[in-house]
């Protein structure tokens, strides 16, 4: 009998298992595929590896061209990007495997069935009994919401990591985080890219200034962006869609990629039979990750609260701590969201739109990166730091950064919001010069007497 049985070994499941083992629990982890889940195998890690190495490849070619070097044979063929990715993913997978082994966690490499609130059963009939069960089954690419000429006529994110191809051109359907990162990746390889997005802007779930910033950046790279367009069907070599004037349009392609969202894998579990409440198979949980059934918890993409790896990990830790009696409710008011285009995005807290609903008189302060010394030195002056604060106490409600290294910079915002550090106190912090982070200090100054290096 185990203390906790975890179904799913992705960033949610394996982190939860390790935390539970730290607290002295006897843990079973069941994973039907590779450890590391979507994140490690066909998501975050391989994608960031492509983006990093693809960028190096592009810079390398540009440097060679600018300096008159000629490349003999295949000096750094694109295939090497694929191989480096494979090595990185393999190394990380081995690392996760070893972490679990060191902690004495029993890992079962098999498909696990949820039989009851205290039992899993494997394909070979093995029963795994536990006092509590943690569902961490994740999500998968959803079926496209329009007709296609068959699965083989389009790519999804899953296809990207099993093989490597440099198409002449590609149409990317879906301008969310994944679509935008894919666009950046193909740009590095020299492919002609176009994005078709249903909402009226790219990255529709993010702050509107972020959408504008990234859209301008991508258009500057020569990527065609069409918003407000509803795709009707994909044929063998053509996308048929309705543009934002409701005119029927067609776009030919060599390759097309669909990035229109993901669905919960919990539809493969007997949710209704066991009385586990859900919303279209995203399992309903409270702030302690309890489902509606005693002894069953659900974390990560499967509960749909926040489709990100770090949320899954944090929720996994919360769930396990609660099961073992040392927990507290999840404080997720500052979960960072990042986009790894070369001009990165890092956000946390509320968007301006969300903030205005609760705090109609809130204020915003934007500091442009072009007024930052380090940005100038590094040669990337696009972007900004935007802070949203309430007008009464200068409570920081949200921070949105578009800049090189924004994914790292945003953590000052995460700490400020979690620590309830007000904007005036953030402005008192001394930021090293010259760094990009100074822009954060300057943006905070905007709520009182204004930034030093920028005058509106």
């Amino acid at each position: 009998m185990f203390d906790i049985a975890v179904l799913g070994g992705g960033p949610g499941g394996y982190v939860a298992a390790i935390r539970a083992a730290q607290l002295g629990a006897k843990v079973a982890l069941v994973e039907q595929d590779d450890l590391g889940g979507t994140c490690l195998n066909r998501g975050c890690i391989p994608m960031k590896s492509y983006l990093h190495n693809g960028r190096e490849y592009m810079e390398f070619l540009r440097y060679a061209k600018e300096n008159g070097f000629s490349l003999q044979g295949n000096a750094m063929p694109p295939q090497s990007i694929f191989q480096i990715k494979n090595k990185t993913v393999d190394a990380l997978r081995r690392s996760v495997t070893s972490l679990l082994k060191q902690r004495g966690i029993d890992v079962f490499h098999a498909k696990g069935e949820l039989v009851s609130s205290q039992m899993l059963r494997l394909e070979d009939g093995t029963k795994i009994q536990a006092k509590d069960i943690l569902l961490a089954v994740g999500s998968r690419v959803s079926e496209p919401p329009f007709r296609t000429a068959g699965r083989s006529c389009y790519w999804t994110s899953d296809d990207m990591f099993l093989q490597f191809e440099v198409p002449e051109n590609i149409v990317i359907i879906g301008g969310g985080v994944i679509g935008v990162e894919m666009a950046q990746h193909f740009y590095h390889l020299g492919t002609k890219v176009s994005i078709i997005e249903y909402a009226d802007r790219l990255l529709p779930m993010m702050d509107h200034d972020v959408s504008t910033g990234i859209c301008e950046y991508l258009e500057g790279l020569g990527i065609a962006i069409k918003c407000g367009c509803a795709v009707q069907s994909i044929q063998q070599d053509m996308v048929v869609y309705q543009d934002n004037q409701c005119h029927k349009k067609e776009e030919a392609f060599k390759r097309v990629m669909i990035c229109t969202g993901r669905v919960s894998n919990a539809d493969g579990l007997p949710l209704d039979q066991l009385g586990i409440k859900h919303n279209r198979y995203f399992i309903k949980v409270d702030d302690q990750m309890h489902t509606s059934v005693e002894h069953i918890y659900a974390i990560g993409d499967a509960n749909g609260r926040s489709m990100q790896a770090h949320s899954a990990s944090a929720q996994g830790i919360t769930a396990v701590e609660n099961i073992l009696g040392v927990g507290k409710p999840l404080d997720d008011r500052a979960v960072p969201q990042c986009v790894y285009t070369d001009l990165e995005v890092g956000c946390c807290g509320m968007t301006e739109e969300q903030a205005r609903k609760q705090y109609p008189n809130c204020k915003t302060s934007i500091f442009p990166m072009q007024s930052n010394g380090k940005a100038l030195v590094d040669g990337q002056v696009r972007g900004f730091v935007k802070i949203i604060a309430d007008n009464k106490y200068q409570e920081i409600l949200g921070m949105h950064i578009v800049a090189a290294k924004a994914a790292e910079l945003i953590h000052t915002g995460v700490v400020a919001i979690m620590g309830e550090i007000t904007a005036d106190l953030l402005a008192d912090c001394i930021f090293a010069h010259p760094t990009l982070s100074e822009a954060i200090g300057e943006a905070s100054r905007g709520f009182n007497d204004g930034a030093i290096h920028h005058h509106k």
Binding site: D272, K277, H278, N279, R280, K284, D286, K328, K392, Y393, Q394, E395, G419, E420, I421, T422, L425
Partner: protein, 400 residues
């Protein structure tokens, strides 16, 4: 070392902590006495812990001026055991805190009390919490942090609300209010209803349903299970089946976009101790009748105990409002935005109906569907009402 006035002071030699678990030791031998000259590195005394015996070496050279503890004393780590300085100096008086049973009770208690008081007087609150408290004249020392560690803004707000509720209660006793400003649920309903009527073009469709068969089913369920299944549950179950074919009638219309859903979540309007609330039952289309009935009961009880949560009322796609328990024959309800429709149920009365040119008495119920005419037109609703009426009158159709 020199003190603030620059006067050279004696050095204290402390009992070192020789391991992670060492907390105290017993001095069992002094190797030097007061007045002896001591060189840096000399052994001063020997002590014993539960693990080992060891010696304290002097960090300083000078004269041993004072010994602070005696043979056999058990002292905690870091205690100043003796002082070394210049001959003739008066070292500061040091009180050695003895550990264990050596310490008289009154000393122990005084020490303990001092420690907690010092710690308690330090209030740990976030910068934001401090600001909010100051602005609202709230004393932070009275607040217990919810997370047990640090006072946050939420803790202060909760304390503020509690304080102002008390203030309000006492003030209403003293002087009656001339006009009542609606608060809480009433205010929300007022806002929602106004928004609905101002922005949604309502169209109303009425039909009469012969409830004979459903009454019979109710009776059978009662006989078989002892459960008195309400009409709301019966109608909800049938409604869900029909709605599966009319996605626009259980949808959200938001920002000029129609959001449709796969399953059917029905909000059940009910009058409770919390006022008018609309808890939601999810996926009614695959939920059994008795489960629906049970869920309605649970929600009602929760609401009457003022325990109904925001979560219970989320994700409703259409609302069902049943006033059949009152003398209301029919009524037209107001759509609950961002939903696109609401079904209003009146009471069942025995009426004369014509069937195949003969007059019969039948239990008739009137229902009125209010729908958002931006989203759906009359013919479509007509089709829906026909199917719904059919299915209510001929429940066997649910099996198909």
């Amino acid at each position: 070392m020199r003190n603030e006035e620059g006067i050279i002071m004696a050095h204290d030699v402390i009992l070192p902590k020789l391991g992670l678990t060492m907390t105290k030791a017993t001095i069992f031998q002094w190797l030097k006495k007061v007045g002896d000259l001591v060189k840096q590195g000399d052994d001063l005394c020997e002590f014993e812990t539960d693990k080992a015996t060891s010696t304290v070496k002097s960090d300083f050279s000078g004269t041993l001026l004072k010994i602070n503890c005696e043979l056999g004393d058990e002292v905690p780590v870091f205690t100043a055991l003796c002082s070394i300085g210049e001959a003739g100096e008066t070292p500061l008086e040091k009180t050695v805190t003895l550990s264990g049973s050596n310490v008289p009770n009154h000393v122990k208690q005084a020490e303990a009390g001092k420690a907690t008081k010092e710690y308690a007087s330090r209030i740990i609150a976030s910068p934001l919490a401090k600001k909010v408290a100051k602005a609202n004249n709230i004393n932070l020392s009275g607040i217990k942090p919810a997370n047990g560690m640090r006072i946050t803004k939420r803790d202060v707000e909760t304390a503020y609300l509690a304080a102002s509720t008390v203030k309000m209660a006492s003030s209403t006793l003293q002087k009656p209010l001339d006009s009542q400003v609606p608060s809480g649920n009433r205010k929300v309903i007022a806002q929602k209803m106004t928004l609905s009527k101002q922005t949604i073009p309502h169209a109303y469709f009425k039909t009469e349903v012969n409830m004979q068969r459903l009454q019979e089913i109710r009776e059978i369920v009662y006989q078989r299970t002892g459960i008195k299944c309400g009409y709301t549950a019966l109608i909800a179950r049938t409604l869900a089946s029909v709605l599966m074919k009319y996605p626009e009638l259980h949808a959200w219309y938001l920002d000029e976009q129609l959001h449709t859903f796969n399953g059917v979540n029905i909000g059940i309007a009910m009058d409770t101790a919390m006022g008018l609330v609309v808890p939601v039952i999810s996926n009614v289309e695959i939920t059994g009748l008795l489960s629906i009935e049970s869920q309605i009961g649970i929600m009602k009880a929760k609401a009457n105990a003022r325990q109904l949560a925001v979560d219970d009322m989320q994700d409703g796609q259409i609302t069902l409002s049943n006033l059949g328990m009152f003398a209301v024959d029919e009524f037209s309800a107001i759509i609950n935005p961002p939903q696109t429709a609401i079904l209003a149920i009146g009471r069942i009365t025995q009426q004369a109906v014509v069937h195949q040119e003969e007059i019969h008495i039948a239990p008739i119920m009137r229902m009125v569907m209010s729908a958002d005419h931006r989203v759906v037109d009359g013919a479509r609703i007509g089709s829906f009402m026909t199917e719904l009426k059919d299915m209510l009158e001929i429940p066997e159709l649910l099996l198909i």
